[in-house]
Amino acid sequence: MAIFEVDKLSLHYLTRFGQKIHAVTDVSFNMEQGEILGIAGESGCGKSTLVNGLMGLFIPPLYPTSGDVRVGGESLMNRTPEDVRANILSRKVSMIPQGAFNALNPTRKVKDIAADVMAAHIKGVDKKQIYERLKERFDLFGMDTNKVLNSHPIQLTAGERQRSVIGISTLLNPQMVIADEPTSALDVTTQKVVIKMIFDLLEKGIFSTMIFITHELPLLRHVANNIAIMYAGEIVEKGAAEQVVFDPRHPYTKALMGAMLSAEPGQKQRKPTAIEGAPPNLANPITGCRFAERCPQAKPECKRNKQEIRIVGDRQVRCDYAE
Amino acid sequence: MKLLKNLLKSPMFVIGASLFLLTLLIALVGPLFYKITMARVGAQYDAPTAKFILGMDDLGRDYVSLLLLGLRSSLFVGFLAGVIATTIGTLIGIYGGFRGGVVDDILNMVTNLFVVIPSFVVLILISASFSEGRSLTLIGVIIGMTTWTWSARAVRAQSAALKSKDHISLAKLNGDNTLRVLLIHILPYIFSYVFMVFILQVSSGILSEAAISMIGLGPMDTVSLGTILNQAKNTGALGDGIWWAFIPATVVITLIVFALYLINTSMEGVFNPRLRK
């Protein structure tokens, strides 16, 4: 049974000038217990907007247009931000943000920030017990627990900070974790350490189901079971991680793979190809395929016909001509 | 423009700004509609009548005329002090914050010196030493020169935060000199701050003038809201229950300062999210 269901979710936000931007359109997917879904796309494709929608956290100027999100059958829509924060976040759906710095209150020690999260959700435990449980949990993370817990965020390295954020987000063993570019601000070595920690938590059963959002496809190949590619607010391709990466079907996924670089011997000759042009403006209504303007295989009718998700072999693809 | 639009969405700003504009309008065009007279038109502390709705002062002069003149003086003093204090403070703060190092330390020391010395006491001492020819302009200048520390500190922090930004490095790589960097690449970014500081400096200027006039060290060449209160105090109007001698002037001062604080607070709300970004 799916524990997380997203059903034709569309989201929009208002700009400062009152313009309506349809950032996410018609996104649907189900997740089984234990699944790790990677969502990849370039900046502006709507993946960050989607994160808030997936948590049911609608703070103006972000609004749901239509659709539904359910965790264990319970809808997350039509809730106030206070309700979401009190009853959904941390326990049901937890988020790991990109900037650990913004997520941690700089004036407080890590242990106090973490203790607050625990105290808000677990009643009838005193401070000492909370600190003990914190220490127990942080011991799993492979850091100097005493140092980290008793430090202010600024005294930690970027890697320690991000690992602390992950530790705090998963304190209450959430059913679902949504990681929004958790390693994008880190260098490759620290990134690996952080991903290792996430794998560690998965193995120890702290949480088992995760949506991992990033613009780095190669990273997803190692992290996710399934990958969904987003373009201009829509999912254009979804399938098993290896298949999407090694045998892309949607022209956009193909172009994305063509633009990748790698330091493998003999690869120096392979020139990465850029995708010219830019995604369409999501303030305007779009009739045809959103990638048509930049697609090397575009046919005249592509600009007219709205593309729907089709099943092609082992994949879902939003392209009438994908094989 | 966008900022103005956002500001207009804040009811606090709309109330504050309209209130302030109203007082400004009254001060500027009021005399065109109301015949101001400094002549004796009644007896000492005559009660309000239909013709002179706020009654007479100690010398039998019309209070509405006095208030209109006083309002003009107070606004003038506030603006003068505000411009001087903001200019000095901004210059010292922006340069110190940007330069850092020893120059910043010295400027900081000077600023702190002025913070430690109670500026109001200095104000009183200087005012008292000008026993003759103490004009409104002089009072404004003195207030401006003793209250700039606040702007200097606020601006310095902003300037120091900006100096390590990439666009400053790039400006240096463009060959821009320090003056150009300060004027073009730092000042616009902190302009909203400077403006907020200016508003506060104006209101503190108005309050300082009122306070110093009230204790009898105010301008000798004109009527200000402070001198009206001083006269009321000196003649014991307060004890005699002659409300029109002190309540209208107090209300006007309170309204102006309240309006300025509303503007300042609402601007902070609009500017800060942007700065945090």
């Binding site: 620290t190 190949r221 330091a263 120096k268 | 490095s169 790039l170 790589l173 463009n174 060959g175 073009i184």
Partner: protein, 260 residues
């Protein structure tokens, strides 16, 4: 000294702070960079690569050791910056948001003692924009916040096309842009090298990217250059453990990364 050497460092050290808080950001590095080379400084955050780049720009100075450009220490900045220019990581923070991009591209001429005539400046800005595939008309009256990240990064490169310096210090110019744009930016860097025979110092934490663009790699760790050499040598036959670490840490599509 050979006359084709631009930068030369001999046991250069650059430190910050003092006492217990002393940080040796650049620690005893020695190298030379020749005219026309593309050299990449590679390492994780805090390895000193950005500080070394700023030393090349003359924004930081060595505490001890020699650090020269064309055989002399960097003293006159205006002169230095006529030849050595930079692009930075975050294109949005590089432009003043209160002025049009075009006026800021023109402001780059401020580095010359005598500015060219106005028409020549306009002409050179137009050409620079065309060099990065932007129609000058599209940019008319545009402010920095009206463009996308990829476009802004191209504007930083356009500034380089305007100035045509001898040396370009590129500090992580692709770390904040998407893969598609990244390929684009690299194309322009190649164009700068080929058409203007520019020397490029490329700073990155991505050894894959460095491998792709450069003639030589400097691998940095804790302020020291732990390995330097041709890209194939360094990536195929790495000698330093830090190089091996960097190579292993990149999540490559075709190679095992972390076992789950």
């Amino acid at each position: 000294m050979r006359n084709d050497v631009l930068f030369e460092a001999k046991n250069s050290v650059c430190t910050f702070g003092h006492g217990k808080k002393l940080v040796r950001a650049v620690d005893d590095v020695s190298f030379d960079i020749k005219d026309g080379e593309i050299v990449s400084l590679v390492g994780g955050s805090g390895c000193g690569k950005s500080v070394l780049a700023k030393m090349m720009l003359g924004l930081h100075h060595p505490n001890t050791g020699e650090f020269t450009y064309k055989g002399a220490p960097i003293t006159d900045y205006a002169v230095h910056w006529r030849e050595v220019q930079a692009v930075f990581q975050d294109p949005f923070s590089c432009f003043n948001q209160f002025f049009t991009i075009r006026s800021q591209l023109k402001a780059a001429f401020g580095i010359y003692r005598e500015k060219p005539s106005n028409s020549e400046m306009e002409e050179r800005v137009d050409q620079a924009l065309l060099a990065v595939n932007v129609k000058p008309s599209e940019l008319e009256g545009k402010y920095p916040f009206e463009l996308s990240g990829g476009q802004m990064q191209r504007m930083l490169l356009a500034r380089i096309f305007v100035l045509k310096p001898k040396v370009l210090i590129a500090d992580e110019p692709t770390s904040m842009v998407d893969a598609c744009v990244r390929a684009n930016i690299l194309d322009y860097l190649m164009k700068l090298k080929e058409e203007l025979s520019m020397t490029i110092i490329f700073i990155t934490h991505d050894i894959g990217l460095a491998y792709y663009v450069s003639d030589r790699l400097f691998i940095m760790h804790k302020g020291k250059i732990v390995e330097q050499g041709a890209p194939d040598d360094v990536t195929l036959r790495p000698k330093s453990e830090h190089t091996i670490q960097l190579l292993e840490d990149i999540p490559e599509i075709h190679k095992e990364w972390i076992k789950r």
